[in-house]
Symmetry: C2
DNA sequence: GCAAATTTGTGATTGTTTTCACAAAGGGCG
DNA sequence: CGCCCTTTGTGAAAACAATCACAAATTTGC
């Protein structure tokens, strides 16, 4: 008998594949609104600039969703992708640091549209922040971080605090049980390796553009 | 005589290399402030989680900057990287759409710190935007886009308008001669292929995190 | 000023991702 | 109902990227 991995049968899927699945999912969302019933891998690829084989290979990581000679049922594939991406339930998000950037993020409706639930904001100066932002998301003092999270589980923490605070805030959200971080602060954070971290680094994007236009 | 490419001797450098060069450049900036004189590829790599050979290979795309048995002179390498990245002159940036997100971007000091110059904001409702934002960057009506750009050249346009407007705005900035776009709007834009486009897609990042925590 | 210790720059190697290409599956039209 | 056409799923090949490993160059310490 070959050694099975037990329940860890799911092989490691590259991040790039997951990002593309998200893109597929969004196209399918649009198609469903337009009442389009089916789509081929070639069409789906064309809309995003990918090769059709790439689309099929990406999907093949998770099973067989297509119908040969026909394509994919939009609604069916969308359902599957949502489930794969963990979006078949509400994904709970918090924001730490409701300053200039955080104020925009906390009231961003693109979140909700994609099925995320922005639970709370946390701030060193919650009064000033509450005044600044017009949004239904409650903003608490950062001291309440641990007690709030304890009550209800949180999936993802979005960080937009000053660079000096980032490591200590990261440690606090991790200690409180958060397993994924989206970091807008241009500084590397040290966290246990089971915690997923994504960096959004604006200046980096600008610099790479700067290279190509100089 | 082998066919030379004329002045197009510069081979195509992958985007990933350029991003890493930016990261190196930022580390070197910090080191210079700390008056560190030299650094090895191994040290530089360690600070970013890269292999030392990767660092050397990346740099080798552009020349020989190191001293065997010694390492790299911080200030020297930094100067070279800035020049490679096109940062040895002011890089001129404009922002279109000074709403929730744009308001944060227009007054972001991380820009300036990395040598970018935010020239102007353009808005459909410039009065409201000016009121909202406390920043020295002037905000004009979007109708003035073409005439302003005509006078002084612009390197990069940052787009943060509603999704419905994105294609038309993209076409206008391209027609006005802008060669690089940083797009925060989650919608693909059609532009001539010589125009460089980067997408910053927040919901995509959240979704990929969502997969790993589900 | 010489030998030992470093560290670069780079060809070779390994690993990963994308693309190709085609057999097999299924739908649709006559 | 059956044949033809389309499109999937997937091994094989190609392209691309990261890592290894080592000769060559240079510093450092004695
Ligand atoms: N503004 C932008 O467009 C932008 C773009 C990219 C990245 N960033 C990064 O995002 C971060 C925030 O930028 P910003 O422009 O919003 O700055 P900001 O100063 O406006 O916002 C920071 C907020 O964090 C709060 N804060 C400080 N310490 C805190 C703590 N310990 N816990 C909770 N809240 C705390 C402050 O009160 C403030 O409201 C920075 O690290 C910046 O580099 C900003
Ligand atoms: N708010 C966020 O945190 C966030 C995050 C990621 C992406 N985005 C994207 O960024 C874009 C802007 O988001 P937002 O939250 O700032 O929305 P917003 O409505 O607050 O801002 C859009 C601004 O663009 C202006 N505008 C409209 N048409 C224009 C035109 N033709 N020319 C110039 N300006 C015009 C509006 O007056 C408004 O001020 C959206 O596409 C959104 O999906 C926003």
């Amino acid at each position: 008998m070959p050694p099975t991995d037990g329940e860890a049968e799911r092989k490691i899927i590259p991040q790039a594949v997951i990002k593309r699945l998200s893109l597929y999912s969004r196209i399918l969302q649009d198609l469903e609104l337009e009442n389009v019933e089916k789509i081929s891998s070639a069409d789906l690829g064309r809309r995003l600039g990918f090769n059709s084989a790439q689309v099929r290979k990406d999907l093949a990581c998770f099973g067989q969703f297509g119908v040969p000679g026909f394509g994919y049922y939009v609604s069916d594939l969308r359902k599957n992708l949502r489930s794969i991406l963990g979006k078949d339930r509400t994904v709970r998000v918090i924001l730490i640091g409701v300053g200039n950037l955080g104020s925009a993020l906390i009231s961003y409706h693109g979140f909700t549209k994609q099925g995320f639930k922005m639970m709370w904001g946390f701030e060193a100066q919650p009064e000033a922040a509450t005044q600044r932002v017009r949004s239904e998301v409650p903003i608490y003092h950062v001291d309440e971080l641990e007690s709030k999270i304890q009550g209800e589980s949180v999936d993802i923490a979005v960080l937009a605090v000053p660079a000096t605070e980032i490591q200590s805030i990261a440690e606090r959200v991790v200690a409180a049980g958060v397993k994924a971080i989206l970091n807008f602060v241009p500084a590397r954070i040290e966290v246990p390796e089971e915690v997923q971290v994504r960096y959004v680094d604006l200046a980096l994007e600008l610099e790479s553009l700067s290279y190509y236009v100089r």
